[in-house]
Symmetry: C2
Subunit: 593 residues, 2 copies
């Protein structure tokens, strides 16, 4: 196939778009692959659409290869099924809702668990019909609070979503593993440097869940990995809890006067000064108590206190993931006013006489959760719930017991992996795929049951699997673009070869066309720059547009040579005219393998 | 490619869906091609999606062949561009509107003229960039008042829409003709019996417009054609106006007493009775005056009177098309109360003393339009605007002059074609494609101008072209289904061949699989019915699902024969096992050509 820049619907831009924060966004817009229509909503121009269609083809092939069957569900959906699973409410503002002319509530599908569950319920009724995996490649909608980075976080985007249906857990495991294998092949074919990390199921519910992250400095997701093979999304990292200590070994609780020191940093400074170090200090860490107001999707709120080591901050994303679909805000001054018993800067789970101040059984009744490191027998310096006073020797299991654990403290480079596989390093990535073992949550909500071998109705167990198809275009661009523009792998490039006619002599244009048709006859897709433009413009545009191989037909033609450029490496070679087509074929072939 | 019914996600239904009015809807649902999710909103199951994708491929090939370039715009769109062309309002309840989390008005795109105009404006600025044709195959949304007939009139549907951009009228003509040619090839490849008819531009605006209708007894559209080659959508039929007559030849106006006769039929009866025939009657026709209240998209209303021959009714669709985007309702009793001068049953444009009763210059001030047949010099019997009285000899150009023409009377079989090509016949069709010469309306509204050869800014002229892609699946089904089920042409069938293993002997299943793989190796797509089901179930399902060729491997196997069935003709042939694959290939080949 041959296309020509004189007629191709594309324009490169000299300047970065104002809102471009990351290379993929900048170059996809500047190279004329996509155009912004509204926040998080883009048009695909011919070059961009070709890349998108190539990604779709790879995804389709690999899904077909595991026996998943392609279907296509609507994007405009009725409210009722999402009501049955609470997601009509739980999605909050992320859901695009609308009302049709008859006053019926509808939504734009953010993901289709409910609809697939109903569809299978509509058609199937026996264990003999299972296992079943269905998929679709479809436009999805989420009203993101902060759409950003072009295609990386959009409000209208293309996803492959699939759903597996099995009669038992072993079947779900097999379906999950089949999808995992397909995803490995997809991301390898896309040429992405990716990791598979443990993930939180979040609003999806369900048990096991892993994410495929493309490693990327500008990725929105942070993940950890250890040399020993542990890898997890930072939201999913489980902090290793130390062994409990004998409570009897703990020092007695004692008051420490901390006049005017209402911050943990101040307390640490004070305690570290020999002079003020209280009895029973013994090197204990400080315990910081933080208060949140948690709002449920229904709009109801409740207060929540979290006790965590004083040197750790709460990680906002880990907190969000842990409480989803509820949302937490730090206590405001007004919130504190409602609880006059809490002395800001000196909050404590306990007072000197052992009275509980936080916790469901306490005077305030505020639910009190602690970091996994706050185990029985550990003792801490914490507030005294009296202005200008702290307590030392506050011992877990003796002076207070928390209502539960909340593992949302920041994860640090060097923290131990929870599986004992060594210290963890932190890196960033782009979420490209997510696989979930949903279990029976959706099947139960929608009543999807089949008859088992004994003629008994059993609830089906499901998996849900997603690939960000439009996001993959950006992720590959992000991984391959350099400071001159895009640089596609041959598998995804809109055209494998760009032939530049640089010069004014008609023979140059004729020769460029001749080479292009020969390359096209060999099965390559070729873009000819046949514009009346300067060589400088053509070179710069070729680098921005990023086809893997460029053939320059110009001044060298008089000497019977053309130049072949390798976009990714920058390598340039002069090749005799007669060898040009073969040399391009070889270069494309070498890049393919 | 081979698929097996034991695992294919499909179930045939014994009963018609409750809302099925037409064969395509009934059979696409019963054969497991589509499933209803909400009114006018369907899911595509594997078999249906394959047909849809084949239609898409044909459309894509033919659009590419005329040099149109594929892009993909969002379905979720901002309000502003549609505001600039008034379509935000003009679309009325047909537009799905929504508000995002920031309170911004958005819509689901029903068609994309505005967005394409803006996109071209964003990239192009010179006559050298034109001509340009862009297309997309995309999901569209219209909140139809009465979604019906399955895919034929849906609220979420797939369309190919394209847009041409030219610097002058000759260019637009060429782009229009190129699209027209592509559409002819598309509908021929789809195997549809279609007609190209003149059409109304409707809410799209613009000048020339034609529709491609698939001839279908259940079609929603009525069209006319003459033996001499005239063809038009019934909304677009222009009534042939007779030559004016000399006013001087008309009889004098006279009163006719018509006590208690307040209907045209009654007046005709009365006038036809020798006894009552008034002076000056001379065989004149009756003129019926009908009143409407017209509501504009803004919500404002005005009264409108229409005078038409008494033997014709107003055609609701022609009236709707003529007034779009405004909507007309017959005068209600309350409307009449506001105009006490109008005597119901005896309404007249004029009174005996020549005073105008209807018309902008009249006492009532009501705009008065007449049918094209009401030309100067014709005289009519009409109301006297006095209860129980009519007037005869009421002559156009002498006794009254209308404010204009409104051509919305019913069209009848046998009416003369407006181009003199003979009497017209009426038939029904499904609108499959629509091509418009939009002209400069959208380019003007959005400010799309380019520099012409003289360096002067000129407004671009546009065309807009649509194909109903999902509707085409239904139209082909509608044209080919019979009383046993679907019956696909080989070009669109999900599988060209269905191999039935009918019997219990394992050798039957083995032989069916062997034939299927041989056929697949020959490049055919094969569906094997390998279920443990009775021959009766398999035969019935094969007929419902409608693959063009069926191979029955069953009892004949003992004698070394299989049966080959031609779904469309019902023909059955026993063929020696060794000849089976070749015979199927030949039959598929014969059907293809």
């Amino acid at each position: 196939m041959i296309a020509r820049l004189s007629s191709l619907f594309v324009r490169t831009l000299r300047d970065d778009p104002a809102d471009a924060e990351v290379p993929s966004h900048r170059w996809l817009v500047r190279a004329g692959y996509i155009r912004r229509v509204a926040p998080g909503i883009y048009s695909w121009l011919p070059l961009g659409l070709k890349v998108l269609q190539k990604v779709e083809a790879i995804v389709r092939e690999e899904m077909d290869a595991i026996g998943a069957q392609e279907v296509h569900l609507p994007a405009l959906l009725p409210r009722e099924p999402y009501e049955a699973t609470n997601r009509w409410t739980d999605y909050g503002d992320n859901l695009f809702r609308l009302v049709d002319r008859k006053g019926t509530d509808m939504l734009l599908g953010p993901t289709h668990e409910e609809m697939f569950t109903l569809l299978v319920k509509d058609l199937y009724n026996s264990y003999k019909d299972l296992p079943l995996s269905l998929y679709q490649i479809q436009t999805k909608y989420r009203d993101e609070a902060r759409p950003r980075a072009g295609l990386l976080r959009g409000r209208e985007f293309v996803m492959k979503d699939s759903y597996s249906f099995d009669v038992d857990d072993a079947g779900l495991d097999a379906s999950y593993q089949a999808h995992r294998g397909a995803y490995v092949r997809i991301f390898e074919r896309l040429g992405l440097d990716y990791v598979i990390v443990s993930a939180m199921a979040g609003a999806m519910g369900g048990s096991r869940s892993e994410e495929f992250l493309a490693v990327a400095a500008n990725g929105e997701d942070t993940f950890v990995r250890s040399a020993g093979g542990y890898a997890a999304n930072v939201e999913a990292v489980r902090t290793a809890a130390p062994e409990p200590l004998p409570v009897a070994d703990a020092p007695a609780m004692a008051t420490v006067a901390t006049p005017g020191v209402g911050s943990i940093a101040g307390v640490v400074d004070l305690l570290n000064s020999e002079h003020a170090r209280p009895e029973g200090w013994g090197g204990a860490d400080t315990l910081k108590n933080v208060l949140f107001m948690v709002t449920e999707p229904s709009g109801e709120s409740y207060p929540l206190a979290l006790g965590l080591p004083g040197d750790r901050e709460v990680d906002a994303k880990r907190l969000e993931a842990a409480l989803e679909p509820s949302v937490a805000q730090p206590f405001s001054a007004e919130d504190f006013e409602k609880y006059p018993d809490l002395k800001v800067g000196f909050i404590s789970p306990v007072s000197l006489d052992g009275t509980r101040v936080l916790g469901e059984e306490s005077a305030t009744g505020i639910r009190y959760l602690t970091d996994p490191r706050v185990v029985e027998g550990t003792h801490w310096v914490t507030g005294a719930n009296v202005v200008d006073e702290h307590l030392s020797g506050v011992t877990v299991g003796r002076d207070f017991t928390a209502d539960g654990v909340l593992d949302v403290a920041e994860v640090r480079e060097g923290d131990p992996a929870p599986d004992g596989s060594g210290p963890m390093t932190l890196a960033r990535g782009i979420e490209m795929g997510h696989i979930f073992q949903l279990g029976r949550r959706y099947a139960e909500a929608m009543g999807l049951k089949v008859l088992d071998q004994n003629g008994k109705l059993v609830t089906v167990t499901m998996g849900s699997y997603g690939v960000g198809v439009s996001r993959a275009v950006a992720a590959v661009a992000e991984a391959t673009a350099d400071d001159k523009g895009l640089s596609w792998p041959v598998t995804l490039a809109p055209y494998q070869v760009q032939v530049l006619a640089t010069g004014k002599d008609p023979s140059i244009f004729e020769e460029a066309e001749r080479i292009a048709s020969e390359l096209s006859a060999k099965g390559l897709d070729v873009l000819v720059d046949d514009r009346k433009a300067s060589p400088g413009v053509k070179f710069a545009d070729a680098e921005i547009m990023g086809m893997p191989v460029t053939v320059v037909v110009g001044r060298g033609l008089a000497d019977g040579v053309v130049e072949i450029r390798n976009r990714a490496t920058g390598e340039r070679n002069e090749v005799a005219l007669a060898q040009a087509v073969r040399a391009v074929e070889e270069l494309v072939g070498a890049k393919r393998s």
